[in-house]
């Protein structure tokens, strides 16, 4: 058996097909979810992919957070459903308060697209067990609003609880506090990050590396072994 992993398409989602491809390459079955769906079609996990849902109007992720599909997603995520938010998906997760903090516009005020070096800080979440803690990887990053901010109390708490999942190395591309590239919730089932692992799953394509594939193999192993 394999795992069924849902990918939600909001109006303005861009990386939905890419994410489905990454799930397929990892050996799992991608399931397309529509933002107006009122249930999650019994998927075993969900990815909120990158893009500009609702054109980033109001605030990135602020409108998508109220899509019908978010209701069952919130409920089940709180009950342990694995959820990964990539870029705009991460922004939606913070808007939905599944993850703390928020994203501001990049400190240099430009969109930035680059192959970004990261350190895996937490290799125990549902989405990171195929990495080892401290592992250095390259994952493409592309965003306009990627500056992660939270109050000092939250940041200290995230650090103390090992919930900073990824940190930017060598170069902080957007001014994120404490070089934070991605975080997890307490239970480790909900993970959000700005870089795009689905763009690093095939040699030759995109960054030409496969450093992003372990996100999808991690979750597959977890679900199949569960």
């Amino acid at each position: 058996m394999t795992a069924r992993i849902g990918v939600v398409t909001f109006p303005g989602s861009l990386d939905d097909r890419d994410t489905q491809r990454a799930i397929r390459l990892a050996g799992a079955e991608p399931v397309a979810l529509w933002h107006k769906d009122k249930d999650l079609h019994q998927v075993d996990a969900v990815v909120l992919c990158g893009g500009f849902s609702y054109g980033d109007y109001l605030r990135a992720g602020a409108i998508a957070r109220f899509s019908p599909v978010m209701e069952p997603l919130l409920e089940q995520a709180k009950a342990g459903l694995p959820v990964l938010g990539i870029c705009n998906g991460f922004q939606i997760l913070t808007e939905a308060h599944l993850l703390p903090g928020t994203m501001l516009r990049n400190d240099h005020l430009h969109f930035i697209c680059r192959d970004q070096k990261l350190r895996v800080e937490n290799a125990e979440t549902a989405w990171t067990t195929d990495y080892s803690a401290g592992q250095e990887i390259h994952i493409p990053l592309k965003n306009n609003d990627g500056q992660y901010v939270a109050d000092a109390y939250t940041l200290d708490k995230l650090e103390a609880e090992g919930r900073v999942a990824f940190r930017y190395l060598d170069f902080n591309p957007n001014g994120s506090q404490r070089d934070i590239a991605g975080i997890t919730n307490e239970a480790g089932n909900v993970v959000g990050l700005m870089p795009h692992p689905e763009h690093a799953v095939e040699p030759l394509i995109g960054s030409g590396r496969t450093d992003g594939l372990p996100f999808f193999t991690s979750i597959l192993k977890k679900l199949v072994n569960a």
Partner: protein, 752 residues
Amino acid sequence: MSRTPLDTVEHAAATPDVELPWAELGLKKDEYERVVEILGRRPTGAELAMYSVMWSEHCSYKSSKVHLRQFGEKAPQSDALLVGIGENAGVVDVGQGYAVTFKVESHNHPSYVEPYQGAATGVGGIVRDIIAMGARPVAVVDPLRFGAADHPDTKRVLPGVVAGIGGYGNCLGLPNIGGEVVFDACYQGNPLVNAGAIGVMRHEDIHLAKASGAGNKVILYGARTGGDGIGGASILASETFDDAKPSKRPAVQVGDPFQEKLLIECTLEAFQEKLVVGIQDLGAAGLSCATSELASNGSGGMRVTLDDVPLRDSTLSPEEILMSESQERMCAVVEPEKVDRFLEICDKWDVIATVIGEVTDGDRLEIYWHGGKIVDVDPRTVAHDGPVYERPYARPSWQDELQADDANKLPRPTSGAELKDQVLKLVASPNQASKSWITSQYDHFVQGNTVLAQPEDSGMIRIDEESGLGVAIATDGNGRYAKLDPYTGAQLALAEAYRNVATTGAKPLAVSDCLNFGSPEDPAVMWQFAEAIRGLADACQQLGTPVTGGNVSLYNQTGEAAIHPTPVVAVLGVIDDVARRTPVAFQEEGQLLYLLGDTREEFGGSAWSQVIHDHLGGLPPKVDLERERLLGEILISASRDGMIDSAHDLSDGGLIQAVVESALLGGKGARLIVPDGLDAFTLLFSESAGRAVVAVPRSEEVRFNDMCGARGLPATRIGVVDGDTVELQGEFEVPLTDLRTAHEGTIPALLA
């Protein structure tokens, strides 16, 4: 412009003496008289609006038509061409049942007036052309030209243009994989913002802009119609900027990429369900263009009720509705029984869609407003029978003097130290410097099929995940060469784009062009234009790559000063398996560097002459198209058979520019030697065409040499990939770190 009573056809016939503002709408007196003659009466206000925008230079190609015919007359035999010139974009067969559509267009004038929106809507327009052919857009490219890099206004225009292209293209989910950025004082008051796009479809999915089948419904869908861009086509695109006239800011359209993204998805879903008979995007001239082109390309007429057009501003007059260039709108012709399903799909994507009319069995385009008929025309007279001008042209008096000012006679460096100094100056000059500050503002990963993106020689996209089939695109143009000799300059632009595609391992198939020139009313400009087209058409014929479509942008000048003639050429190629692609970056130390082709003392129009001497004169490099073809074949074979691990075409900046780029991208240096028969200066800086530098693994050297020898392509060993410096033996050595600082520091220092 609204007046009472409503200016219906009946009213117009009854009031022949009413004066209409034809001059304000950009029509000439004889053109207006021709409209009256066609109609047999004075036009209504709405009819005048339609004729004026559709007969503008931008829409009617009235000054360029007589020359553009050569692209058809001299078109080479090509099995690859599925749809040629005249549709929204050409379509090329790339094998395995796939067809690719691509096109380059200009959005020059709007981008100077309002850089962000001008550039953004340029991307939006070209992407809609691609969708209108039935294809899913898969990539964009942006050839850009600005004034002097250190001019204060460049700092206003460039960041806005780049942010606009990024803001729109990124939001659509289209990887930006290529293009150019060129600085030259001649573009100071008139930047060139060209935008290209590629789309992919199956052969059977090709759609055309025609309205057939009486009773079929005409559906307008997408954004509501507003007051933006009114008269954009006739006034903005077809007139020289003149400081004395009032601001034209309101004529620039405002884009909403989110709306366009929805439009793409909903259109593609409608195609998938085979709901669409004919389709046209609304770009320049808006509804005037869409209705008249759909009707004139189809078999019948069309009746439209303008009251049904969803408006953003309820006070718009019918003339304004017809002329509005509001973005993100499309017009589809749908069979009556499929209308409900079409509207359902639009609703799913939250796209407003409205039936505004139907195809009739007559041959008239009739438009109604408040119950009155305000347009009754033969649509062909609007869309296709615009005026045609045989503008006078003459070789400018200064051309001989310019060509006599030989760049080969400029003082050359005399020592290793001086060579080194000039190399550093060259790679740091704005035109030769790294453009990553610009390209990093574009998403090149989205869609997950990008194999190569700038600064590679061509952008490359995988189109089939199973077979690895891919397409490559390169855009090139060199206004300095074209100024020295427009015929040769246009051929060099094609040769370079062709070479760039072949360098990455793809086979060049077809051409699109964006021809940017000054005022056609200036005989010198018209001569440049005529010569460039003649050169390009001849070269396309010889290389076997047909022109599939493109765009002409005239009136690119400030006052009396025209820009350099700037034909920008895009070449599309195909590669059977993208895994065989050849990158620019050096891959492994120890690999042997070979210079392919002949190097002559050719410095006219060169980057060296510009950077070191601020000089433009002499003749551009010679063109040998048979050599280009041979070089291309060798590069493609070498890529397919694994004989080379990296390759870089030689163009502006010559060999040293190419070697430095390959070294910096690969993080590996090079040791070079001057081969027999050449001097160090010519080796480094000559811009002879038909050349590339390749890195050959030692195990492949014999096989590679044999191939070049057998085919008659000169291949000269000039060094080896090695170390962390670039060294020219006996002359100089520069650490990669110094080259990187020079090459990568310039643009951020000027613009960040």
